[in-house]
Subunit: 479 residues, 2 copies
């Protein structure tokens, strides 16, 4: 902005182009259903449209925006289409997008309290609000021993939790002397791959990561956990960390936190609970059973950037004892010293995460909660669950399909009776058709389709259409 420098965009131009971009986004949202949900481009197709060399001289903004339309849009898989049922939702909303605009416009760094006090304090405050909104254990509030922080993702939250567990188990010696190789971590066989990745990053080694057996609903068996912990102790291992999941990625399985928590307390293990995908459901009292026993956890996370209408990146990560986390991740070089930090009266969030820098991400959570109100958020969560259950009902009534498990919330897992090959072909034909997009997993060694209802604008008629497309495609697959 500023008009003086030839190379900068003037304030007037920014106003003009900013409004053009707002209209472009609104137009995009209005026509998003006209695109195939899964992008149809071939590898290399987008790059082939881009000039091999960067421009020497600056280009006009309308040229750039036109290229977004021409080059970028065909290469998008439309996560914000109401016909997106793949992976997990990454839903956004108008208030969240508006807040992201402000975050970009303000361009502040929230690494220390002093580098923008509002960035830190709004974050602590909104994360305390969420403790109340979700009826999480009060120990996670920042006015006690705990507190919440926004991480980029549940992967990073798991890593931070594992590191704090590693340090607590070693008397904070692994940070100093290195990881001994005898620490052992546990999760169910259905746990998200990021936990195995964290185990590798933190230097524990995959051989010291136990995949605990699950029951017929794909939930961790606490007695199997207890048994494995005993066996490891007998073998000279040092159990330190358990990750339980409420809402696994594959099937939305709910690990029984209370019973797992009992094992962890008894054995002195750090319990991290990963509610990335399903945690938002606890906005509604009728779904709070998923987090029963959470007061036994040392840390917890859930992702507003999945199912709470908030742009990625926004994972809410809570710890019961913030001092363990801070002691694990804190480093204070001279160039970051300041009176506020030394007073001990403030939170410096760079000590709660892997990177140093951080964006003003609390703004979008604040906007979303205020725009919808608790009531509005509940309304949409209930509707998604209701739509998923209705879809599951249709699957059950159709002889060609098997419902793999009653959907606990908004994810339906089903397969074609014809076996893996038919199920896979069904998915590929449906995704190739482009009107909807869904993905798969393996359950008990079988190919299973996952239908996850969670996009902001998915309505009943979208789900009905999706079911019709699946039925029609299945009909064509049969001889």
């Amino acid at each position: 902005m500023r008009d003086k420098n030839g190379h900068h965009m003037s304030t007037d131009e920014f106003r003009r182009w900013g409004k053009a971009v707002v209209d472009w986004i609104a137009d995009y949202q209005e026509r998003v259903e006209s695109y195939p949900v899964l992008s149809r481009v071939k590898p290399g197709e987008i790059r082939a449209k881009l000039p091999p060399a960067p421009p020497e001289k600056g280009e006009a903004f309308d040229t750039i925006l036109a290229d977004v339309e021409k080059i970028i849009v065909p290469g998008l898989t439309h996560w914000q289409s109401p016909n997106f049922y793949a992976f997990f939702p990454a839903n956004t909303s108008a208030p969240s997008i508006l807040a992201e605009m402000l975050t970009a416009g303000l361009g502040v760094q929230g690494m220390l309290w002093a580098t923008s006090p509002a960035c830190t304090e709004l974050e602590s405050h909104v994360l305390d609000w969420l403790v109340d909104m979700l009826a999480l254990p009060a120990v996670f509030r920042s006015d006690g021993t705990g507190g919440g922080v926004i991480q980029d993702s549940a992967s990073s939250a798991s890593l931070c939790a594992l590191l704090a567990a590693r340090e607590r188990a070693t008397g904070y010696a692994a940070n100093e002397r290195g990881c001994t190789g005898k620490l052992v971590a546990y999760a169910s066989s259905q746990t998200h791959s990021s936990v195995e990745k964290a185990v590798k990053i933190a230097g524990l080694g995959r051989e010291n990561f136990r995949l605990v057996e699950v029951d017929n609903r794909y939930a961790m068996r606490p007695e199997a956990l207890a048994e494995r912990v005993r066996a490891d102790r007998n073998g000279g291992g040092k159990p330190c960390f358990v990750c339980a999941t409420v809402g696994t990625t594959s099937s939305n399985a709910m690990d029984p936190i209370a019973a797992i928590g009992d094992v962890c307390r008894q054995e002195g293990l750090w319990l991290h609970v990963d509610g990335a995908m399903a945690g938002t459901a606890a906005l509604c009292p009728e779904f709070r059973w998923i987090q029963e026993g959470l007061e036994r956890a040392d840390s917890y996370c859930f992702n507003p950037h999945k199912w709470m209408f908030t742009n990625f990146d926004c994972d809410c990560f809570y710890v019961a004892d913030r001092s363990a986390l801070i002691r694990t991740l804190s480093i204070l070089p001279e160039y970051l010293r300041n009176r506020a930090t030394e007073s001990g009266a403030v939170i410096d969030y760079r000590d709660w995460q892997i990177p140093l820098g951080r964006r003003f991400r609390a703004l979008k959570l604040w906007f979303v909660i205020r725009h919808y109100g608790v009531e509005g958020l509940r309304f949409h969560i209930r509707r998604h669950v209701e739509l998923a259950k209705r879809f599951a009902g249709w699957v059950e009534e159709d002889d060609r399909f098997v419902l793999c498990i009653p959907p606990p919330l908004n994810l339906v897992c089903f397969r074609h009776r014809g076996g893996d090959d038919v199920t896979r072909r069904l998915m590929e034909q449906v995704n190739g058709d482009g009107r909807i997009y869904l993905t798969h997993t393996l359950l008990d060694g079988q190919w299973v389709l996952r239908f996850c209802v969670g996009q902001t604008y998915t309505e009943e008629h979208h789900v009905e259409t999706a079911w019709r497309i699946l039925q029609e495609t299945a009909a064509k697959l049969e001889p």
Copy 2:
């Protein structure tokens, strides 16, 4: 958006409020100099203005936006003020902000090529452009064995580099069996604190991290490195990783990469070069001496979100051998399998980073490069360096001050002759006055002020005013 649901903001409302937010950002930029650069709020002051409980019912958007003005703005430290000289720049620009708006509006996930091919391909492409723009070694281009990826920060880049080094040194066994405790990492005593943090996270342990001695310009002494590596080998340690810095945070010191690289090649160590703060300078041929010898590096990073007019988060991380990085960080659960990944013809960036999810961050780099052109970017970098050198000249001419080191680029380190206490009081009074903001470090045990010129809109008259404020304040400090 969509008008049908009471709880969602309609498209028309989004258009209206989006434009209001664009105007708000433009107004903010126009009046940013009217605020004290460093926020004056006391700990807890922002939270005290926020209601203790979240709203049950949704609120009107104008109320929310008004609260940004009333509650948030006083709690900001204005990183986008042209009078911000603290820490490091985190400069933004109009095209970058416009791209961030689009990123938020599109709301796509770039974890896999398939989840939005344009997100991945634009990133590879623009990072290849930057190899050419900065005259980086061609081995970092994606059409050879290497490639670039956007990380959230240089901290994460260092961690990824260290992990790949750890795995390469152990034949990829640390991931499997855990970190042995005998691996040793090296950096200069001036290296950014994030490298020590990475050493702890990766399980090497701080005791196995060597702070190599520096010369009188605070640059790593290659012969001291060689000596320490020898000593560690003799002591049974397994040296694996060296981090050299071009542009240290404290003083912009430039480690001699070529000589360090020779040691690394001879000893088989992974060389990571951290150009977070200064790397952008290489846009200009006359500053490319800072990266002489970079062809000996295994990995490199620099931060467009510091000095290249691009919003945080945007660290460009390059590796010479992408297979080492991918093998270190890759995990492929069933629910992420897809034909494109299995074909081997695409890049899946989730294997190049710690988290799984990722925003469409390449868009802002593309916009910035196209808006300014290589020529425009060079113009601003040169001007910042020129202004810093002019400021350094004034410091040198003033008997009350000592210029600690000739500024290699845009960071000036100086102190008051009166000693630490006077220097510290000078800084506190200047920052309290609010017209400018600068921070400090320690060099040779002495308190030093850091004056970093890099905000997008900093002009000659701003730097002149800053110098006048420092002179006036210094005059008042003397008896």
